[in-house]
């Protein structure tokens, strides 16, 4: 557990109680989340793994408060979540930058909403994701990976109690990805917020998270929930990590002799 510096908002704990959710698709109801219960302690770094389309992004929307679940309860520090709020900042799977704002104005979005300027924080976030010099670019002038980094910066400017990340590094090359992973880890260690991160990369989950939760194909249910009690700085060749990785891949449906 990481101790958080004084002056910052305390990290948020999330409790999911028997969540069920689904969507009406083509006239038929499709269940997407089937009885998920999870307790996420304040300050944890939880990675969510699961096959594509199983319902990970949907679960994040419920935690963010963008939709209420059909059944069950989403609690934040024991209090039912009734809507979105700036204590739970989301980085969506698509960058969804506003095309009418420059990169800098996009990163500063939360400041505009809160009605206060914080140029230093905005500049620091832009610098951290390596977009310095592109402050005045329009989103359509960015590459896919740059747009994703801008979205990451937009999320990191805030002082959230919970950071919800949906495949934040999915479109980056392996080298940029490494840098971003380090930055993310450093930020989490310094600021001590809670992180819930969806990723497709088992190795990334094991390098960053204190806990890895694996979901079944749609409708999503928890099939494994592993604590990673390894100290940072973790190394990808660590035999303990490799063993965990094999175990998780097997749970996700890969054969033993892979």
């Amino acid at each position: 557990m990481v101790t958080h510096p004084a002056g910052r908002a305390a990290p948020l704990g999330i409790q999911l109680r028997a969540i069920r959710h689904g969507y009406q698709i083509g006239g038929a109801f499709k269940p997407v989340i089937e009885d998920v219960s999870l307790d996420i302690a304040p300050g944890e770094f939880v990675a969510l793994l699961g096959p594509s389309g199983c319902g990970k992004s949907t679960l994040l929307r419920l935690v963010a408060g963008l939709e209420p679940p059909h059944a069950g309860q989403v609690l934040a520090d024991g209090v039912p979540v009734t809507g979105p709020g700036p204590d739970r900042i989301v980085m969506f799977q698509d960058p969804t930058l506003y095309p009418w704002r420059t990169v800098r104005a996009n990163v500063a979005l939360s400041r505009d909403i809160a009605g206060r300027r914080d140029d230093a924080a905005v500049d620091a976030a832009i610098e951290m994701v390596g977009l310095k010099g592109f402050e005045r670019a329009w989103p359509h002038q960015l590459s896919g990976g740059m747009a994703q980094r801008a979205a990451l910066a937009r999320a990191l400017v805030n002082d959230p109690r919970l950071l919800i990340l949906d495949e934040p590094l999915g479109k980056l090359d392996s080298l940029t990805r490494l840098t971003m992973q380090t930055e993310l880890l450093r930020l989490w260690q310094n600021r001590g917020f809670t992180v819930i991160m969806v990723t497709h990369d088992v190795e990334e989950a094991l390098l960053l998270a204190t806990r890895v939760v694996t979901f079944s194909p749609r409708p999503a249910g928890v099939i494994s929930d592993v604590s990673i009690d390894l100290p940072y700085h973790r190394h990808r060749d660590d035999p303990r990590l490799l063993a965990l990785r094999r175990e998780i891949l097997v749970r996700l449906g890969h054969s033993e002799d892979w």
């Binding site: 408060g65 979105p84 739970r88 900042i89 969506f92 969804t96 009418w100 329009w138």
Partner: protein
């Protein structure tokens, strides 16, 4: 996203400008320095060839043509005249031809076809009344169009954002909007005591309808993910409307503003011809009544310049506000 698609379908696309640009080398055959002489030709024809009738201001007109010729020569020498040169050459020769055909040879029936002198004379003698009419027209237009724009954008946002507003307002919009505002004119003139107010109301109604529909379709097409982003950062409805929905719908709104402006031009002329006793429309009707055709042409020219000027302003504003778009049409 459907929103972007609709914008492109409704707005004239930016592509034709490019084909135009590509065809420009073909016009290089007309050199910039030829523009000045073309106007000298017009000046010479006007000055030296005797008029077929007793026309006013022939020497003044010749002087004016010559002055323009000198200015064009200077511009060519300073290399400020390249893209416009072919047009200037054509205009100079066109004036020369017009002068020849009508002022010197009287080939076309008068008074429907005037001479350049007649037109110039109207501007020289009646500029005060023309200017006054222009100001009245502009006043009528600006008030009605502004009211229509504000009304249209507000209604469109309401339709796009609020289910309850849509329930009550949509039937009214559907009933009243498609009605040509002209058809309400007789009624409005009776019901509303002031002709001016009646005309403003109808102009607002007429320009408001396309603005309403396009604002609505723009707001309705906003990617819901844009709202999600702002909402997770604590944005309230006010921010979602003014800082998310409106900017996202702006390309569509400008198509509506453009269409609404055209509609208000129509309403302007109709109102001035039927009720309001001032403005360019009224001037034109007066000119027709007195068979003062040169005055009518002069008023038409002023009106055309006013309309194209207003559209130019609208597009300049649009270019400033929509600089973030990848592509846009140039007026």
């Amino acid at each position: 996203m459907s929103g972007a698609g609709t914008t492109q379908a409704i707005a004239p696309a930016g592509k034709p400008t490019r084909t135009h640009a590509r065809s420009r080398p073909a016009l290089r055959a007309l050199p910039p320095w030829a523009a000045g002489p073309a106007w000298f030709v017009a000046a010479l024809v006007t000055w030296r060839w005797p008029d077929a009738d007793d026309f006013p201001d022939t020497t003044t007109l010749a002087g004016l043509f010559a002055g323009i010729g000198v200015a064009l020569l200077a511009a060519a020498a300073l290399r400020r005249l390249s893209a416009r040169a072919p047009w200037m050459i054509a205009l100079g020769l066109g004036f020369a031809a017009w002068e020849l055909v009508q002022a010197k040879l009287l080939l076309l029936p008068r008074p429907f076809f005037g001479t350049p002198q007649d037109l110039l004379d109207v501007f020289l003698t009646d500029w005060k009344r023309l200017g006054d009419s222009l100001l009245h027209s502009l006043g009528l237009l600006v008030v009605g169009y502004t009211a229509g724009s504000v009304l249209g954008i507000a209604t469109g946002v309401g339709l796009g954002r609020s289910r309850r507003f849509r329930y009550w307002a949509l039937p009214i919009v559907r009933l009243v909007g498609p009605l040509p505002p002209v058809s309400l004119l007789p009624l409005a003139m009776v019901l509303i005591p002031s002709n001016w107010l009646a005309s403003e109301a109808l102009m607002a109604l007429g320009s408001g309808f396309p603005i309403t529909v396009l604002t609505w379709s723009g707001v309705a097409a906003v990617d819901p993910a844009y709202y999600d982003v702002a909402r997770t950062m604590g944005a309230r409805e006010r921010f979602l409307v003014f800082r998310v929905a409106l900017p996202a719908a702006m390309p569509q709104i400008f198509v509506g503003l453009f269409m609404g402006l055209g509609m208000s031009f129509v309403m302007l002329v109709i109102a001035e011809m039927l009720g309001v006793k001032s403005g360019l429309g009224f001037y034109m009707q007066w000119a027709q009544g007195w068979a003062a055709y040169p005055n009518m042409y002069a008023a038409l020219l002023v009106m055309s310049l006013m309309c194209t000027g207003l559209i130019t302003i609208l597009f300049k504003v649009r270019d400033r506000l929509l600089g973030w778009q990848k592509d846009g049409l140039k007026w």
